[in-house]
């Protein structure tokens, strides 16, 4: 066992005292924790459960390609006074408009879809409704919605409007989800590096 650890260059670990081990564990935990809490902080700021998403399909080409990273904003519900908070005209991102690109999650389906708003309805007491369509698709999205659903509920189903993007950098996550073993390999390597470093 000792010889094995020595071979791997890990014999340093055996000399650590309990407090030092705890410190190393803490360093690692804080890196994970801080990454997670920054993500949650962004979620709180944008009011979106998932403020950054990666484009998974080519249905919005040529605007977005597979792997583009999108930044979302979800404080632009634009409800009327009966259905929810009213539009704030001075806001940089007023209520959702036709032509905007939104990301939505259909209840029961887990994959977020990025498509453009082509029609909107603002009933007096009903929720704000949207019809969407992919720029690269021939038909609108009623096919993609749940059975007998013809419109999206802005408040419940849409997780945000696209306000910014970085091309291609999200492709890593597509690779990771298509080859799950890459994930474990990456996590393992990162964990080892953090534990072995002392500075």
């Amino acid at each position: 066992m000792d010889a094995l650890l020595d071979q791997l260059g890990l014999s340093e670990l055996l000399r650590l005292k309990p407090r030092q081990i705890l410190s190393q564990v803490l360093n690692f935990a804080l890196i994970l924790g801080t990454a997670f809490m920054m993500w949650k902080g962004l979620s709180v700021a944008t009011d979106s459960p998932s403020p950054i998403v990666v484009v998974l399909s080519g249905s919005m080409e040529p605007a977005f390609q597979r792997g583009d990273l999108l930044f979302l904003w979800n404080r632009n519900l634009g409800m009327n006074q009966y259905a929810g908070p009213p539009i704030v005209n001075s806001s940089q991102f007023p209520g959702t408009q036709v032509g905007e690109i939104v990301v939505y999650n259909i209840v029961g389906k887990d994959i977020p879809i990025v498509h453009r708003v082509v029609r909107k309805h603002k009933g007096l007491r009903t929720p704000f409704n949207l019809l969407t369509k992919g720029d690269n698709n021939h038909a609108d999205d009623t096919e993609l919605y749940a059975r007998n659903q013809y419109y999206l509920d802005r408040e419940k189903e849409v997780i945000g409007s696209v306000v910014g993007y970085i091309p291609f950098v999200g492709y890593v996550t597509i690779l990771l989800s298509e080859h799950p073993w890459l994930k474990s390999a990456m996590l393992g390597i990162m964990g080892l590096l953090v534990i072995l470093q002392r500075e």
Binding site: D2, L5, D6, S11, L14, R15, R19, L22, S23, L26, A29, L30, L32, G33, T34, F36, M37, K40, G41, S43, V44, D47, P49, R198, E199
Partner: protein
């Protein structure tokens, strides 16, 4: 495993860590009692922050975003407040302190420091006797207690500590 740690002689931080680690056992043989309060407080702050993050993760995973939104806001604020506190604690309270110990009313605080590209170990000794504080500094090259292969040699390092810390050579009431 090895009683004698072998260190990469080209890494100043490895040399410093190995040297720092050798202080505590030696001071223990001299009858000094180490105080771990600073480390314990750092660990407490850090793990509290981690617990908050873990709880946030758990409730977000089980209950979903909508139900936990408000609490998530508070958790995020609490987490980053604790993190700021932790950073402050590590920089301004703990700083370079590598050992705090006490023997018969004499309190010794050791702070070690190395410059980035210089193989010199600098030790700052703060000694408190009856409320009187006395600070001295001393430095020595790492080659004083690491041999050519990078093995730590105890004796010269103990001598260095004895010369640096006046409290060690002061007579004690009950000699071992």
């Amino acid at each position: 495993m090895a009683d004698k740690p072998k260190v990469n002689l080209n890494s100043v931080s490895d040399l410093k860590n190995a040297t720092d680690d050798a202080i505590q056992p030696y001071m223990k043989t001299l009858g000094f009692k180490q105080s771990n309060t600073l480390t314990d407080i750092r660990l407490a702050i850090g793990f509290t922050a981690c617990a908050i993050a873990a709880a946030t993760f758990y409730y977000d995973y089980t209950l979903g975003w909508e139900k936990t939104k408000v609490y998530t806001l508070y958790a995020v604020i609490a987490y980053f407040t604790l993190n700021t506190l932790l950073t402050w604690w590590m920089w301004w309270v703990e700083g370079n302190k590598v050992y705090i110990g006490e023997r018969e009313g004499v309190k010794v605080v050791l702070e070690s420091h190395t410059d980035k590209f210089s193989p010199v170990y600098e030790l700052k000794v703060t000694q408190t006797v009856n409320g009187k504080t006395n600070t001295t500094t001393s430095k020595n090259s790492f080659s004083g207690w690491f041999d050519q292969l990078g093995y730590f040699v105890e004796k010269p390092f103990m001598a260095f500590l004895q010369n640096s810390i006046p409290a060690i050579s002061e007579p004690t009431k009950k000699k071992k």
